[in-house]
Subunit: 273 residues, 2 copies
């Protein structure tokens, strides 16, 4: 059975092809993790950081036996002819029977190639429009930060709008802003940056970590802490980021119109290459 | 690519075969629902009840276009030669691209057949041993009760023991007992039954609903309410149930040794056929 939409190049467990056993635990339970990686001039961007997050995911889910060198080789096999594209890596616990109990088996490695997505220049020039999702994230510290395959919360949050916004902020059950549906968020307040802590939920994005490190090394004051929705009226700037889109300044959120501040411009000059 | 384990008979979107596009949103995000159905004498047990839960799942996840009659026909196609087996139905939002946003597409219907599992007679005769999982369920009212494909919490809870127990009870973050990893739980206290309410998390099992209805119609006092872990020392009996195993009395939980009470025997005589 082939997908009806245009099928990207795909390698599963080292073999070309995009079909998977319907007994794979990735399908049955979302029992796995993934990474979405930007490829520029044929090179995976932030490879080491994506790999570190994969390793953390494997550790937390108890997935053993991921061969990092083999994974890199397989990714390179897929991208050597493409200057610019997107690669998604999915690692699942592999094929299993009926039941949550995991029997010893081999992980499934799926590597998919997608065309590069061109976004309007206005997203970086003037900024994007962001909505507030009604959907609230559950707090589950055991699964926070890693990029696992249980993403129904993000699917439901994203289903709240069509194309009138470019992103949506999502809160936890206690009205703390956590992240955007597919990116992390930073606020500027009194010339300091704030990004939500992700101890209870949220994905610790690769670019979020790069931005945090950059700020720490370059005297840009940054605080990682709980951020209440009620604080939003005090912000002077906002941006969202992930390793594929880079940094998008936010120009409009709720009734706020926000400028592209000097700090945001500085970070964009570093990370939007 | 074929699975290395024994492959059950499987129909995907009406076609025989067990392979699925790796772009299916069931794999990418756990974006779908499932049912596990006991087949006896070639007949799906509790078909209407399973179908109702599928419909509820479709409604909550916004999955439209499930053809119930077609689904029944396809299930029957799989089981007509088998007197006793297990059928698993998985419905996903279908093949999609990269990104949480759902574009209009056809649902994927997966129907898998598994051999019937024979459990030791002692499970029903003397009862089972049950542990308390350390893992705590997150509270997400939007996804409670339905049987969606985001099951990492159950996988992690189930990974806490090997075969020394037959089930494990799982609490929410506030130490309310919610369910067992793959069944629902009932307690007996002062000749009344109590089963946890599932407003924040947990799966509303088909057999749980049947037991509740039976009690209501037969003057067996039953309360559906929050059940704190600290209440456990006051119980006189316990059983777990799901539509495949029926009712299993619990003989041992933590430091408690529990009898198979008259009420439990009565319910077993009704539902363990």
């Amino acid at each position: 059975m082939r997908a009806k939409v245009q099928t990207p190049a795909c390698i599963i467990n080292g073999e070309q092809g995009d079909s998977l056993s319907s007994l794979d635990r990735g399908l049955l339970y979302g029992d796995g993790i993934f990474e979405t990686i930007a490829i520029q001039q044929g090179q995976p961007q932030y490879w080491q950081e994506h790999l570190e997050r994969l390793k953390l995911g494997c550790e937390i889910l108890g997935l053993s036996g991921l061969d990092h060198a083999l994974l890199k080789t397989e990714v390179e096999k897929l991208i050597d002819v493409d200057a610019q594209c997107i690669v998604k890596i999915i690692i699942t616990r592999g094929v299993g029977g009926r039941g949550y109990k995991s029997t010893q088996q081999s992980l499934t490695r799926i590597i998919q190639k997608f065309p590069w997505t061109e976004y309007p220049e206005s997203y970086t020039q003037s900024g994007i429009d962001v909505t507030l999702c009604e959907f609230r994230l559950a707090q589950q510290s055991k699964l926070a930060q890693i990029k696992h395959l249980n993403r129904l919360e993000q699917v439901l949050a994203r289903s709240e709008w069509a194309d009138e916004y470019q992103e949506g902020l999502v809160c936890d059950q206690e009205d703390h802003i956590i992240e955007a549906t597919s990116s992390n968020v930073f606020f500027e307040m009194a010339s300091c940056l704030v990004t939500p802590e992700l101890t209870g939920c949220g994905v610790a994005g690769v670019l979020r970590n790069k931005v945090i490190n950059y700020c720490n090394n370059n005297d840009i004051q940054l605080s990682i802490r709980e951020f209440s929705l009620s604080e939003i009226s005090d912000i002077q700037g906002m941006f969202v980021c992930n390793s594929v889109i880079g940094i998008w300044p936010v120009k409009c959120f709720s009734n706020l119109t926000l400028p592209k501040t000097a700090i945001i411009k500085k970070l964009m000059s570093i990370f939007n290459t």
